[in-house]
Amino acid sequence: MTDQPLKAIVEGALIAAGGPLTLDRLLELFGEDERPERAAILDCIRALSADYEGRGIEIAEVAGGYRVQVRASVAPWVARLWDEKAPRYSRALLETLALIAYRQPITRGEIEDIRGVAVSTNIIKTLTEREWVRVVGHRDVPGRPALYATTRRFLDYFGLRSLNELPPLSEIRDPESYFLSTNVAPTSEPTENTP
């Protein structure tokens, strides 16, 4: 026998292995003169399994043997170690989002009219899943298309208190003219918005 407790060796091996270990593999860690009985190893695994009760890890028996793994109950937190950053959003998505922000409530068809190309369902899905955009009604025309608007979360994300804090369209279209203009008088009439 070794001078180290068998259980500590088995634990060290199982945790360091990075994959399942069979009983045979565990037995091979010991020299012939110190090799424990299979049953002794099995006892260690059972004891460890009991030790891990209520902790962050557990021992699973899988086809390849025994494996130490993160307990499913804490996995949602642990998995964040590997959170992946998705690649940047496409131009099409940003344009769609900008149009919804500035021309809301707006239908997909109206966005397509302005952009001159179809808006993919994926874009709408991504924007909806991110909770930046949602359907606020339907236009009463054939097909009853959904009307999209931005959300509170959209404002929060971009650090805006209201849509009014977005720069006016005129500034976006032509920044210079905006700064030069002294057009203070508020437009008394609703701007017509037929695309």
Binding site: V70, V78, L94, Y102, V136, G137, H138, L147, P190
Partner: protein, 258 residues
């Protein structure tokens, strides 16, 4: 060899098989290392090296390496030349000024030997530090699949604005579409009104106004309602003259539960 440091002492008169000698000579990390070995072997004080003696021994080793056809680094020959020079300077009577400055011809060599020895020791110390892969092993338990999230990318406001600028510029190429000076508060209010009505059913027109917003707020709401009615999203309902006006989403088809 222990931890890579030459541990053998080479008794002068002992015959050493050439193979072993070769291994022995190859353990030196250069002329400074060889010199240090010669000094340490004889328990000499590094600050007071008997330069003639050490030079002689050093040359013997260099000869040996030559004879064994070991690839002799140029540094060994350079050191041999330097030792010879120090030796000759030691033999010359030194001028008074030099002595006052304490310029022992060996000083520079001693400094280099000491400096090298420090790092030779530091390397040995580093080698015995407990380290990964030898003394410790990293553990790495697997995480059950399906928990790893994909985070959405960050978007800067200016990216959004430049996207809009681009699409508007493009839109102008295709249409004579004219974008008026927009009032975003109006558009925002349109969305808010729709949200209010989202559950379906009717709302009293007057309930949609919030007097606490003051006159500008009421005007914006009013304009938003007009706009929504005009674009066939809302309708006004009045059961009889002078009855309260109600507002509802047009067609009571289920608005959204998205």
């Amino acid at each position: 060899m222990v931890r890579g440091a030459p541990f053998l002492t080479l008794p002068q008169d002992l015959y050493i098989p050439p193979d072993a000698l070769e291994v022995f000579l190859e353990t030196f990390e250069g002329p400074l290392d060889l010199l240090l070995y010669l000094i340490r072997r004889q328990n000499l004080d590094i600050l007071d090296i008997p330069i003639a003696e050490i030079t002689e021994q050093y040359m013997e080793y260099v000869e040996l390496m030559h004879e064994l056809r070991l690839e002799l680094a140029a540094e060994y020959l350079l050191m041999a030349a330097m030792l010879a020079e120090i030796k000759s300077r030691m033999l010359l009577p030194r001028p008074q000024e030099a002595e006052e400055e304490g310029a022992d011809p060996r000083a520079d060599l001693v400094r280099r030997l000491q400096e090298y020895e420090r790092f030779k020791q530091a390397a040995a110390d580093l080698d015995v530090l407990p380290r990964l892969e030898r003394d410790y092993f990293v553990v790495e338990a697997a995480v059950p699949p399906g928990f790893i999230r994909r985070l959405p990318p960050d978007v800067e406001l200016h990216e959004l604005l430049s996207a809009l600028r681009e699409v508007l510029a493009r839109a102008e190429l295709f249409t004579s579409h004219k974008v008026e000076k927009e009032q975003l508060s109006l558009r925002e209010r349109m969305s808010q009104v729709l949200e209010r009505l989202n559950g379906g059913g009717f709302a009293r027109l007057t309930d949609l106004f919030d007097p606490s917003e003051g006159r500008p707020g009421v005007v914006v709401t009013f304009l938003a309602l007009l706009e929504l009615i005009k674009s066939s999203v809302l309708e006004l309902v009045q059961s009889e003259s002078f009855a309260p006006i109600h507002v509802k989403l047009r067609e009571s088809s289920p608005a959204t539960t998205a």
